[in-house]
Symmetry: C2
Subunit: 133 residues, 2 copies
DNA sequence: TCCATAGTTCGTATATCGTGAACTACGGCA
DNA sequence: TGCCGTAGTTCACGATATACGAACTATGGA
């Protein structure tokens, strides 16, 4: 099991952050983690919306968040303690994380009926259907 | 040639925006377009950093930006006039776009030596190398 | 030592991305 | 009208990334 890699705060990129948070599952995980004032285990965040994320996918998602510099993970016995690196990122990119989290909140508040996919825009689905027939 | 699709502002998603701007080429295009106070053709934005984007890739990038709701494109004779939809998005997700553009500026300002790839984090490269040997 | 728990890694099917080649749409110009 | 040039799109395909089940690793008890 390879050791957990955390980028130095100066190696954190905007692209990495945006990419990590452009996935609805990761965004959900991160938002909930950021809302907590304490560490959370992976399984504690296994529910995203109405579905349960498989363990292997969850692990990958945490890796992406970790390597984007958004999250710090520390082994604690048999489980893993995850915390956000909000403060560090806030210093490097002021206002970025709050703006994204706020936008996510607004979106959830504004659109209660959860459209099935995301990450693929409505437009893409339309195109896909058009192609299919 | 299928007509240009622009999502209604209410169909614009945070995920779509973050995904679109998580690519350094698209981020660069969008940042420059946002800095302009007039429309720009695609070819006018063909230079990203130090390299020239192939036409086909450029077209795809604009499609992603367009379908994410970030950009409005209008055919004008033989060329295309692109403008940002900043104002609309600002209304739907206040502060999001400015925060991202600002973060991008800070990153460029802070790290003049342009690391070759992005979007794939430093960590990923490390892992890849580790696997290769 | 054996088991349960929490998480990781591997393998593979699937989806997305980047790009050259071919194509379409429009605007001159003869 | 037909032909050409320019701007951008679509297609095809190889490279890359993603999701997830199965197998594995580490840790903490009993």
């Amino acid at each position: 099991m390879r050791p957990l890699f955390h980028p130095a705060i100066d190696d954190v990129t905007v692209e990495g952050i945006l990419h990590a948070l452009s996935d609805p599952v990761r965004a959900s995980i991160y938002a909930r983690l950021a809302g907590l004032d304490c560490a959370a285990t992976c399984t504690a965040l296994q529910q995203a919306g109405d579905r349960t994320i498989p363990k292997s996918s969850l692990s990958q998602h945490f890796r992406v968040l970790r390597e984007a510099g958004l999250v710090r993970s520390e082994r604690a016995g048999v489980e893993m303690h995850n915390t956000t690196r909000c403060a560090e990122i806030e210093q490097r990119f002021p206002g970025l994380i709050p703006a994204i989290l706020n936008a996510h909140r607004m979106q959830i508040a504004g659109a209660p009926p959860p459209r099935p996919p995301a990450r693929r825009t409505a437009a893409a689905s339309v195109r896909k259907k058009a192609k299919a027939r």
